[in-house]
Symmetry: C2
Subunit: 480 residues, 2 copies
């Protein structure tokens, strides 16, 4: 993320323009602090070409530096770099017309950068966000490998719509007849297929694209997003599933702290002297709150677990604070979730926000596949499920134990007003195959799904999920 | 993959039926070779419940074993196991009706198992294939992390159809108007988007679902498949791209050899005495040929690289062997590719099949974005591209240098009869954004795409790609 300082003789510097891709050959010199720009740089009309280096020097004797010059800023305000490249040779690999280059040498709003998503990752912050995304994928892969979870590729084109809730996209081919005989959809959740795989492979996970045709225009929703889903087999106690979620997130956050992208985001925010960049950092969540989030994620303390019924009891005395009244039997509103996360999750001792688990919601407001709780409260029947809540964002993940007994699952379908497929239709375009999983040896099992983009937004303090994915897709927007 | 031998007293064994999920508690005993089944097992009507263990014992003092009993076979022919579990307690976690359980206690054809894709992974071979798939994902993630490539999530819903070739699926929402304003498609290749990301992040890669609405009913095609794509920035020599492809595949194959799934597939094939399983192994490629493949993939030798023009010269003297005449200017047919792979790739010294690179194809039969060769042969203009060919399967991967100069790319579009978008339309539903990448600092770059399912098919010797994915989708088939 940091710029590289290159000292280039005037005679060589003419074609180094903002946006250009150049190869600079030279020798690294450690430079002492100097606020006076070297003469060769002054020759560019008072501008210093700051290179967003596409390849990092991998040893101290690097003598060739390839870079795409993605932005140029006035030098006077920049922090001294610890090394500079004294350039003896310049090769322009890809020229650039600075008059038309859309990434201007000044602050640009996130909204305006979204209109040029094919160029947006060239800005230092956006580039670093995508590198952090990459680091997160590598760390999750390592985590689950060590935990002996099998990574799987559940299908993207599916017959069913997981919870009957999401509006699914339809998949069509150019032909006159249905390509797959029946109408097919883009997956809204991999859970049902993961359950099939967990029966065979033991614990499984996936990080897969997921789709919802919702027209909601919020900072938390995308039409195409990545879900991290895990399913544990032979598990009877939901605490084990919540333990996994905490262990995974703690491992991820600790791992990220050791890698460069997260480190750079944190440090560079403090030492950047480029006014445009400082303004861009202002768009992110306050650094103090960000640190509270990270301390909570990596805390050795067990994250708080309260039941939905307890949560309602916490909310009711402060009902006046909310637009919606907290009532047992209704879903928690976003305002309720945020209050709970801040109230219950804040750990004074370490000044940290611990994510909180809210468990055992009323059966009627949750999905049909969830297992009934053994000891429901007097208010009504609940299911063994949990939502993982964090301040500001609300729900980060949701999970449950799954009803693994055939008769009870069929009852649940009826209770939710859904059709109970017969065994004869098992392979047709309905849920027969999912019931099949209960017919022959279904152990108790459970799992969770976590919005990966939302998690990255929480980790980086980027307020809008559209800015942590390379090419955001949402209602009326699908550029490139 | 191997069965676990459990000795269960008659009084406890009544409900242990094929397909059931059970928890067995007991003590491990090392058992000496014995072809005589223990009395407790005889009590199940001469059948031994062989457990496909869902969790592996992780130390020698494991005393609790959870398993899904997915198949039962006559014991008499089984190899002695090295340890057996003397069971003191049996808990049926999920019962099973053996009368209706679709996975029969005999050989079932791959085709018949495909009709029950939600249960298929319960068979030992299919389970092991999916574990190998998982191992491969973890190893690739590690490889690219070490090579400092950034893993990316290019979009699945896109505006463009990569090569104008593939028939793309259309994405629709339930509403009356277009959800994204313009018609959108499921991606047929992530390459163009990877190029945008490579400009910003340096070297990038992805393992993403990819879609083609082709009606071809072959053992090598799926409508939904996974492509491993890598794009290298600041690369001027295509040899570097081919070096990466070889290094990656060698690293993957070496890594797999150290992990259990690949080891089990190889060993169990030799020592399985279960007649049904031996027949299932017969469906795979001959073990000798499989070893030749693996020796080639992990060979320290540089894989052969021949130009298309040289390939035609090799093919022409043996033209009588082919249905299609090898002619300069026409594409290589599958029969040509297989001949070349076997002829050029076979390394006598090590009895190995080295994959081969065929490079510099005629420009007219390749995609518009490929870079013209600097020294084309007298026969006509060629481009800097390569196909990676292996015996039996043909093309495993394809790559190229990309035309990084704007004017030449526009010429290429015209040459291929494609519309050249103007800059004004850059953000609309055409290729304007892709041309934009050449306007402002486009370094020389190149990359490749590899069919991940096809690779797994090559590695495991499974003849049909439909059997290395959990839920295959192809023309008229999209079960579950």
């Amino acid at each position: 993320m940091r710029p590289v300082q290159a000292v280039v003789d005037k005679s060589l510097a003419a074609d180094i323009r903002p946006g250009a891709a150049v190869r600079l050959t030279g020798v690294w010199h450690s430079s002492s602090s100097s606020s006076k720009p070297p003469p060769s740089v002054e020759s560019q009309g008072g501008k210093l070409a700051r290179s967003s280096v596409a390849g990092q020097p991998n040893s101290s004797d690097v003598h060739e530096q390839e870079a795409a010059v993605h932005s140029a800023g006035a030098d006077q305000g920049l922090a001294p770099t610890t090394a500079e490249l004294r350039v003896s040779e310049v090769e322009i690999l890809g020229s650039s017309d600075p008059q038309t280059y859309p990434i201007q040498n000044k602050y640009q709003t996130p909204e305006s950068l979204r209109a040029i998503s094919h160029l947006r990752p060239r800005t230092p912050i956006n580039s670093t966000l995508l590198r952090l995304r990459s680091d997160a994928m590598a760390l999750l892969s390592q985590f689950f490998f060590q935990e002996r979870f099998q990574q799987t590729h559940p299908p993207i084109i599916t017959s069913s719509d997981c919870e009957g809730a999401g509006e699914a996209f339809t998949v069509k081919s150019g032909g006159t007849t249905e390509f797959f005989r029946d109408p097919k959809y883009l997956t809204v959740s991999s859970q049902l297929h993961l359950e099939a795989l967990a029966q065979a492979l033991g614990n499984v996970w996936t990080l897969s694209p997921t789709f919802r045709a919702e027209q909601s225009d919020t900072s938390r929703h995308l039409s195409e997003f990545y879900m991290l889903e895990a399913e544990m087999s032979f598990v009877q106690d939901m605490d084990e599933v919540m333990d996994l979620a905490q262990r995974m997130l703690a491992s991820l956050a600790s791992g990220l702290k050791r890698l460069s992208a997260a480190q750079e985001l944190e440090k560079h925010r403090l030492d950047s002297r480029d006014p445009a960049e400082r303004l861009a950092f202002e768009d992110l969540v306050d650094p103090k709150e960000l640190q509270q989030r990270w301390r909570g994620l990596t805390s050795p303390k067990r994250w708080p677990r309260v039941t939905y019924t307890e949560a309602i009891e916490i909310l009711q005395p402060v009902a006046h604070m909310f637009e919606h009244k907290p009532v047992w039997g209704s879903g928690l509103q976003s305002e309720h979730e945020k209050y709970l996360a801040e109230k219950i999750g804040y750990d004074e001792e370490t000044d940290a926000f611990l994510p909180i688990f809210v468990t055992q919601y009323p059966q009627e407001i949750k999905a049909f596949y969830m297992l009934q709780s053994e000891s429901p409260p007097p208010q009504g029947q609940t299911v063994d499920c949990f939502d993982l809540l964090v301040p500001n964002l609300g729900e980060l993940a949701g999970g449950s134990m799954r009803e693994h007994r055939l008769a009870q699952l069929e009852d649940n379908l009826r209770l939710h007003g859904l059709e109970v497929p017969t065994q004869r239709k098992a392979r047709s375009n309905d849920m027969g195959w999912y019931l099949d999983l209960r017919r022959w040896g279904c152990p108790p099992h459970g799992g969770f799904g976590l919005g990966f983009d939302r998690l990255l937004s929480y980790l980086t303090g980027v307020p809008n999920v559209r800015d942590v994915v390379p090419f955001p897709r949402h209602f009326e927007r699908c550029d490139c």
